[in-house]
Symmetry: C4
Subunit: 191 residues, 4 copies
């Protein structure tokens, strides 16, 4: 089975997720700068989530590069990842509209955590399908970044009940870590 | 006529259907856990519909694999399927917001029933176009799962007026049956 | 310049247009059948517009089949067509929510008329780019259906101020005429 | 790394941006022509933004034609461009709903300015990746139109506090300048 439609469907879902988030920036009725002030936290949460969806698209793109074929298990592992990512607009809006209160920020972290786990499952299903000596398996390596992200998200979810800004800073830190492109796969593929 | 754009258009519509459903999860104004409680049935109906759209995408993907060419009749049979699937966000939201009352659950079943019939029509049009001895015809076989789904949906629609939870359990049961990937086509293609 | 991205972008826009129309079917708060009654005209206008977008996608698909290359003029003629089609959700909702009153039905007709003219312009730009002896030019022929549609829409717009149901019947009649697949191009291509 | 998914993802995002803008044309409850009058500025801002997204898609299409390969930096420069373009529906609606008041028109200009800068960065990253003697670098040339746009947008943002209609006329002027297709790349590619 070819991977073309899996990529096309994932691109479609990610493109829609990233774009419907902007609908939460409700157009104010007044035309002055003050009318934008309540939108600032919603805008900031939009920026963070935009970057996160960008990271997932980027990594998904990289990982699928090394994939030769897909099967039913891969399709469903991918659908599972898209499910958690589809909840990001909800937790983004909830966090933004409540000025980053504890519970919304914790739920944001839970969705990030589940997305990271879903991504990890997808990578394992792909490795299992391609074999431990495949280009893909070598390219993914020990997946240090994936594992450390899961740990940081878990800590951040708990921390958000102590201080939600600390949790947010951890989400930002993980995003920055991932913004550095995944050279493992690029290197292995070009060698 | 090539099948590329048929796949691309269907992927686009399915990606949008699956993603706009999440817009029904209206962001609550309060920031505590209690504010999420009324969203639970909406979330559950979202999960079920997400899985159903995933199943249709999955099966559509499988069936189109074995397709060599499409004509006008195929395009319209496909459009007919997309029409019924496009109503799933509406019945999902109606069921979720009314805590799975009888009428919304029955209508959910009607849309599932019509989608299953539309999928069956699409498969017949494809077989008719490719010939009874084609790889596609052999791969589809007697389509036991498709036929039994139609029967179960019909029973469930009637049952929903007796007990809507029984109907929902039947919808879940059909989904589980389909989650097992369609090995018929995979087998025939790889042999 | 290749036509691939032109098709992909058009597919994307058409897929979104067709799907956001369903958002006008606002979920009722009550869970009984009576709650659906006010939705009937909105549903009927949705069905008609779904079929129209389907027809445009179908014809666009057919016409682009015979296209070899595109240039800037083609891109903008295509964008012009997408602009008018993007207004269909608005006129669909306005017609449906006002039980097919004169003014909304007339505006619906104006948008159909402008879309038909935009489609005609696109076909002329393509013929002009490929030459009068090209497969495309021969396949399109005299474009009788395109021209008669423009005439019928114009009549229907005027008629809608006399009786909006007569206008609607003309819109339905044109849709039925187009539902018969465009064999001109299919024939010419396969010969 | 291939450019196929970069194009597909960008097409998806641009197709959604262009289509969700039409959702701001809120369907009026009355069925007469007077009910459309308050929608006129929203409609006009929709037309302008539709053309702007069309121009970006068009230029993006042209530029990517000459691209051979992409890397992580290109993906993120592209994501950065999509981020600013994703804010166009917001500033379009804000400008339209406030009859082109000073502050919304200025913010519209800021988003256009940032989009132009993001496009310029993307082109520089691509040239840096392909080399100064590449077909792409020669095709882009000195990028006069890109640079003059940035200047005009900056002037227009300041002007909008003096007279917002002057600013709007400058936005329209830049759009007209870009509507003339980018012959530089077409020429270089075909030579």
């Amino acid at each position: 089975m070819t991977k073309g439609r899996l990529e096309a469907f994932s691109d479609g879902v990610l493109a829609i997720i990233i774009t419907i988030m902007v609908l939460e920036l409700k157009v104010p009725h007044e035309a002055d700068l003050a009318a934008l002030r309540p939108l600032i936290p919603i805008f900031l949460s939009y920026v963070l989530s935009f970057i996160y969806i960008g990271i997932y698209w980027n990594n998904h793109h990289h990982m699928l590069q090394a994939v030769r074929q897909v099967n039913g298990a891969v399709l469903w592992a991918n659908m599972h990842l898209l499910f958690w990512l589809s909840l990001i607009p909800f937790v983004t809006a909830w966090s933004g509209e409540n000025f980053f209160a504890a519970m919304p920020v914790a739920l944001y972290g839970v969705v990030l955590l589940m997305s990271a786990i879903a991504y990890y499952i997808l990578s394992r299903v792909l490795v299992w399908h391609h074999g431990k000596d495949s280009t893909l398996a070598i390219a993914l390596g020990r997946d240090f970044k994936g594992k450390i992200s899961v740990v940081i998200y878990s800590v951040a979810v708990l921390l958000s009940f102590v201080n939600s800004w600390l949790a947010l800073m951890l989400y930002v830190a993980v995003a920055i870590m991932w913004l550095i492109p995944d050279r493992r796969i690029e290197k292995t593929l070009s060698s």
